[in-house]
Amino acid sequence: MARYAMVTDLTKCVGCQACTAACNSEWDVPPGYARTRVLPTGAVGSFPNLRSAFYVAQCNHCDDPPCVKPCPSGATFQGADGIVKIDKDLCIGCGFCVQACPYEARYLNPATEKVDKCDFCAGRLERGLQPACVTTCTAHAKYFGDLEDPSSEVYQLVYGKGASRIESDEVKVGPNVYYLGSKGEPELVAQTFPPRQPRMPSAGQWWERALKPLALLMVGTTFLGQAIAFFTQLRKGEPQFDD
């Protein structure tokens, strides 16, 4: 089975946000939200001895994804190919996964009221295409492929050129998005945007956002079901028993 991974060469990246725009367009992401973002570190140091880089952030499809466990409905799951996906039909929009993600890669889509994030363009992969961000990248800075295939570009870049991941001493969840840079860009990005500790839902949040609404929904659905049954029967009339 494949283990999909993305490598972004931060020495090449110019922060143009073509990736974000292509992704937003491909996946109908509402304005102001994104499945992949480009965050500048800004100039660091003192004039004129400065450094800066762009953090091209997206879902890391972690080996040990902290977003899966807190999902109350099972909507967030990881496939055998490593891609972490959201079953939109199951998502109840509680946002537990949003706060659990150490990379802030998820957002609650206000239009659909479902959580959304990068899925490595799974829909495009099925059609034999590369992810939208990869094909549009003006600097050819993004590489996508299978880390278990030694002939793949990503394999060469990760195991041959030492592409690194954004991790910290506290947070090591096996991200599958890697970064290259000849001027220490990955390190600067990791310092500026360290992964945060996954935040698990509290008991109160569980009640407020998952159990209570679910209970209300069930009560509501029960009433609705009763009502539908009642009116259906009213319309059809009482069944006849001709025995």
């Binding site: 110019v14 946000q17 974000t20 725009a21 100039a43 004129p48 400065l50 109840i92 549009t136 929904l217």
Partner: protein, 735 residues
């Protein structure tokens, strides 16, 4: 996001989830678009003027997605943020929808909708009146880009020589003139730069990365990945500066001093390409004598850069020669000495033997084209009113001097200008000194704007004509001879025009009909026009339209040239003119001379401006997707300077310039990445157009603060980096 999440919201989410579940299978999932009525159209982009090849995906009559066209010879499937967002301009709810005739005062924005029939009849009658009363020269035309081809034909046929686009006097003009004086030809667009093969890249005020032209970024990144050394000269720590091996935060306006010192090092150390210069150049001795006094130590005082750094970078360039790409820049109207700075850059390129060489500046390659035999255009009775060829002896008579036309309109000299037709440009955003432009417009008998969106200038128009966007129209083909492989690319509609908009070619042709000028439009439809142009190319129209572009063999390096390519250096001498006799005869410096530019007084900052990768000029700020990526600009101020002003990152400020002109409020970005004497902002924001519901009033306008210009005497360009600003607290806020 998780904070403001109420229970009610949650319940709604849950209920919606339950309700939506069965329906979800019926609607196509984004990213898996397809279906019976889906197809794609190959065309080229117009979100900026680079015109990358795109594939517009159409489903059920709507453009749902735009991707790069892998078959486009230059951009090869890559596409920037703007290109990816094109359909949001097409479906912008704020678009101009139907022709409008002004009923209120100019600037009031009161119009009445009229039909195209009425609009075109009305305009043709006004144009005939002006022609009879004041002569056809009294009408000035302000176009921009390839899309204006048909209007340009119309205006020439009408009989006016007065056409001017900001691409010259507010942008590339000095560069075109400076390189033409030196090598015999300008550079053109897209720039013929061999970035990917360069072993050293020198950017002087070019902020590649923030300024995005897709293929230029691709080639720049590729050049760097192959190990090119990068030298960036910029008062600001730009995206490119962060990638540089050497960043030179030059004192603004001292670029010529730096260039002269670089030449001094190269010539005094014998690092120049002697063989190349002996064969192709004239004036080397004069140049050698000229630059002798300009040592790195001398330049260090002017540029505020260490002499050792100047020496080191000069040697780095020489070590990489001839594969040294000194980027000629694009927007280069800075200080009024811009043609001479471009000359200095061209001369340095020549010293390194980098013109017509691999890794340097590419030579253009022509290819044959067909066309209709048009009647000769009427010879205007009076010459140009903008000073091109006279007051500004080296200004392009093809592209003109916009500010020259503003001036002529204001003064009535050399003769009155009574009508403006504005097509595809935004005169209030592109031409500096807005007050003068507005005063000129108020004096006009006729002001016509052809546009997509209700930008500010439409408020001052007598007649507003809504044009179809690039995704809804044909345009003249994009013909590029400056790429390593020259090509022709088509612009064709993906969907029919929305609302009551019309393509530019149709508007021009219909006007021509009413003005009795149809002889200049001898084709029935755009297909016929295009077919004629591609006749000698050996490609069928259908195939070209399916592929989007056709490319030809290029001969970009000296060793590849053939006799049919003409002279290598079409100057008067047939050689590279390091020393310019042309300039000498006109009474200008035959070799570039450095003249210091005034520094800002204490307490003031020099206003610098540039571009952001997700916006083009003032054209895209209302695009929903791009607005979501960047909805306003920030004012970059050095962190120490900001502290002295009592400003913290994110504070909102108004900028006031030396003439008391104020900007709209914008947030401050404090950073060590800019010199202490400068402020920087991205151009295109701070628009004052209520019809642009997303862009209106957002951010600060650099154009509004550019009330002073330093005019380049050679070609009329407006140097715009001569304005000083200071941050003030916004009105009504406590400091």
């Amino acid at each position: 996001m998780s904070n403001g999440f109420s229970r009610r919201d949650w319940f709604r989410a849950g209920a919606l989830a339950a309700a939506a579940a069965p329906a979800a299978h019926a609607t196509p999932t984004p990213g898996q678009r397809g279906g019976k009525r889906a197809f794609q159209i190959a065309t080229n982009c117009e979100m900026c003027f680079w015109r990358c090849g795109v594939l517009a995906k159409v489903q059920d009559g709507k453009v749902t997605r735009i991707e790069g066209n892998p078959q486009h010879p230059l951009t090869q499937g890559r596409l920037c943020a703007r290109g990816n967002a094109g359909q949001f301009t097409l479906y912008d709810p704020d678009r101009l929808k139907r022709p409008q005739l002004r009923v209120g005062e100019r600037g009031e924005g009161r119009f009445r909708d009229i039909s195209w029939e009425e609009a075109l009849d009305w305009l043709a009658a006004r144009l005939q009146e002006l022609k009879q009363k004041y002569g056809p020269e009294s009408v000035a035309f302000f176009p921009h880009g390839v899309a204006s081809t048909f209007f340009a034909t119309l205006m020439k046929a009408y009989g006016t020589p007065n056409s001017a686009e900001p691409a010259f006097a507010q942008c590339r003009g000095p560069r075109e003139v400076g390189y033409a004086l030196t090598f015999g030809r300008g550079l053109g667009s897209p720039e013929p730069l061999d970035l990917e093969n360069a072993r050293a890249i020198v950017l002087i005020g070019s902020h590649i990365g923030e300024n995005v032209f897709t293929s230029q970024i691709t080639q720049f990144a590729e050049g760097l990945a192959r190990g090119a050394k990068l030298i960036v000269v910029d008062p600001r720590y730009s995206t490119a500066a962060a990638k540089a091996d050497w960043w030179l935060p030059v004192r603004p306006g001292a670029d010529i001093a730096l260039l002269l010192a670089w030449m001094n090092v190269i010539l005094s150390e014998g690092l120049e390409d002697k063989e190349y210069l002996a064969r192709y150049a004239t004036g080397l001795d004069e140049l050698r004598n000229h630059v002798r006094p300009f040592t790195p130590e001398w330049a260090s005082k002017e540029t505020e850069l260490p002499a050792a750094l100047i020496r080191e970078t000069a040697r780095a360039m020489a070590a990489a020669r001839p594969a040294v790409l000194i980027h000629p820049g694009r927007h280069v109207t800075w200080y009024g000495d811009d043609t001479q700075r471009a000359r200095a850059m061209a001369i340095l390129t020549a010293l390194l033997g980098a013109y017509g060489r691999k890794g340097g500046i590419l030579l253009p390659t022509s290819f044959p084209r067909g066309g209709f035999k048009l009647p000769p255009f009427p010879e205007p009775k009076r010459g140009r009113a903008d000073g091109a060829g006279e007051r500004y002896p080296l200004a392009s008579e093809e592209q003109g001097v916009t500010n020259g036309l503003v001036e002529a309109t204001l003064t009535g000299e050399p003769y009155p200008i009574k009508g403006w037709i504005v097509y595809g440009q935004n005169v209030l955003e592109s031409i500096p000194q807005r007050d003068r432009t507005l005063a000129a417009i108020r004096q006009l008998d006729l002001m016509v704007v052809v546009d997509i969106l209700p930008v500010e200038q439409t408020l001052y128009a007598d007649l507003v004509l809504p044009e179809a966007t690039y995704l809804e129209r044909y345009d003249a083909p994009h013909i590029v001879e400056t790429a390593a492989r020259p090509f022709l690319a088509v612009r064709q509609p993906a969907v029919p025009p929305l609302h009551d908009s019309r393509p530019g070619w149709w508007i021009a042709k219909e006007l021509a009909k009413r003005l009795g000028l149809e002889a200049w439009f001898p084709w029935r439809n755009p297909d016929e026009h295009l077919s004629k142009i591609i006749e000698p190319l050996g490609i069928r129209l259908a195939e070209l339209k399916a592929r989007g572009a056709v490319a030809f063999e290029g001969r970009p390096y000296i060793e590849l040239r053939k006799p049919e390519d003409g002279p290598l250096f079409p100057t008067e001498s047939g050689k590279i003119e390091l020393y310019s006799k042309t300039l000498k005869e006109l009474g200008y410096d035959p070799l570039p001379v450095y003249r210091p530019v005034a520094d800002p007084p204490p307490g003031w900052l020099r206003l610098l401006y540039g571009r952001a990768p997700m916006h083009s000029f003032a054209r895209t700020e209302n695009n929903a997707l791009l607005n979501g990526l960047m909805e306003e600009n920030a004012v970059w101020i050095n962190d120490e300077t900001a502290r002295a002003f009592g400003l913290r990152d994110g504070d909102r400020v108004v900028l006031e310039n030396q003439d008391g002109q104020k900007s709209l409020p914008a947030p401050v970005r404090t950073t060590p990445g800019i010199r202490k004497d400068c402020a920087y902002m991205v151009h295109g924001f701070g628009q004052q157009a209520p019809g642009l519901r997303k862009a209106n009033g957002r951010g600060a306008s650099d154009t509004g603060l550019i009330t002073r210009v330093a005019v380049d005497p050679l070609m009329g360009g407006t140097g715009m980096r001569v304005n000083f600003v200071r941050p003030l607290p916004p009105d009504g806020m406590e400091s």
